[in-house]
Symmetry: C2
Subunit: 299 residues, 2 copies
């Protein structure tokens, strides 16, 4: 039976349901594969993951999960190569970017108090909020993803098919967009950091030197070099912040760009220096944060 990739809840398969084996998960439409941890592709996104003790780097705290990506292991589960941002791993990043819900399934082999005693249990929907590379003690680099549980009372279920053909779309396509109440943890960002950074740089992007001109005036974003919040826990201070345009903010947060110790900007893919960070005498950048950011993206 072909697997139809569906994002969100699967009718008839509520949270807490258990399954005997991976094939049962696949037949239920919960997860595409019998082996891979990640059900997903770079173009479609990832709809589900299985936690089953395959990676010692996983950390399962129930509502939040640090999940290790796939790849680089031999048939006996030993790490023999670096992981790469392709295949299911890139699918999880796609889900992060597009805000797609990911079904989390825990297996009996997971070493955590949250694992089921036997079989596989569907444990609800999570969002991917962040990803980065981690260098392990054995020298191999693995991808890590932070997932946070979604407590929406209602999640729109949305099939993977092309609904662009107007005739074939569901009749409710033009219905008003619904809202669901959700409790979130909002990071309290310091307004003075945002204000100082934007003032010093006059809303000019430190990477591309461009300002977004809006009818209300020039605009920019304040990016943190070492990310705020778990698990990076960078500080919310000027020494850990950059003034960027939204495009370079996205590139920097996803490691498409990184900084050298002399604040040159490097394209991660080509390893070419593409420029030098614009600086301001009052804006002292702490290289500890620059190095921490870099460690997430290059060896």
């Amino acid at each position: 039976m072909a697997y139809i990739r569906t994002f969100g809840e699967i009718p008839g398969h509520p949270e807490g349901t258990t399954y005997e084996d991976r094939e049962a998960l696949r037949l239920a439409g919960l997860h595409a594969h019998k082996q891979n941890g990640i059900s997903g592709t770079p173009a479609e996104g990832a709809d589900a993951i299985v936690l089953n003790g395959g990676y010692p780097d996983d950390r399962d705290e129930g509502d939040t999960i640090i999940y290790t990506g796939q790849g680089g292991q031999d048939s006996r589960g030993r790490q023999i190569a670096d992981q790469e941002l392709t295949s299911g791993n890139a699918g999880l990043v796609k889900s992060q970017i597009d805000g797609l819900p990911v079904r989390v399934i825990r297996g009996y082999e997971e070493k955590s108090e949250h694992a089921p005693a036997a079989g596989y249990r569907y444990d609800g929907l999570y969002r991917v909020v962040r990803h980065w590379f981690k260098e392990r003690d054995d020298g191999f680099r693995v991808l890590q993803f932070r997932l946070e549980k979604i407590y929406d009372t209602e999640i729109v279920r949305d099939f993977g098919q092309d609904t662009g053909d107007l005739e074939s779309r569901p009749a409710d396509n033009l219905a008003p967009t619904t809202r669901t109440e959700q409790t979130v943890n909002r990071l309290n960002r310091r307004a003075s950091v945002v204000r100082n950074i934007k003032k010093w740089h006059n809303n000019i992007c430190q990477i591309c030197r461009m300002t977004i001109e809006l009818p209300s005036g020039p605009a920019s974003e304040v990016a943190h070099i070492q990310g705020l919040g778990e698990p990076h826990n960078g500080p919310d201070c000027e020494e850990n912040a950059l003034c960027l345009c939204p495009n370079d903010h996205l590139r920097f947060d996803h490691g498409a760009l990184y900084l050298t110790d002399d604040l040159k900007v490097v394209d991660t893919k080509t390893q070419q220096v593409i420029g030098k960070l614009n600086t301001h005498p009052k804006h002292v950048i702490d290289l500890r944060y620059v190095r921490q950011h870099r460690s997430y993206w290059i060896k």
Copy 2:
């Protein structure tokens, strides 16, 4: 006494406190002006507004407010000119962009069940979530802002002074960033719309033709032409969506750019055509939404 612009709660002045007149509000540090509705500047942002019945276009539903900007009235409160995105109005947009909390103060002249019987009452913190121009029946254009109440249990209080001088910063500057639990209404966006739009356009921005190349693959954002949610209530469908880079998404949402009926892209400030929207045969754009977006930004 000089007014020190402070964002967030003012100690000793909790929500629900009432004040005899505008001068008392100013002395309490709640609002800078004795006349203007908006306390703020384009560079610093707006820290407070007063609702006092000055504009028939205001709509006060308690937790959500449609607030009309300032300017364009004669001394008797008659509208004699269009409002502009300058001064306090641009300050409210700055607060929207930077996520700064705005103190809402209601006056006795406000025509709503939420107004106090006498004097002025501080009614808590709100966020600016959207702004647009509205053409009134008399032909004049006024700015409107949608504000939503913040129910954080703790809001970081943050003074307007420059804290870039390391010695003068508060000792907790490098303390871990705190989080507060907050209940939010999240719009349920249709994943299939995002997927179709990005697939058709291959993540290429329909305005600048650029793709954001990330290590996980190409990236883009899906923008709605007529905004989702209150009060615009645009539908979440492909005919109301564009594939944009984050920079052009920000420009489009703030009306720095708009579309003509033949899908030319116009710079709102200069009124110059800067290009033509990239199209895809499967992606039919409904001109009703294009016109609605345009009506928010030009006459």
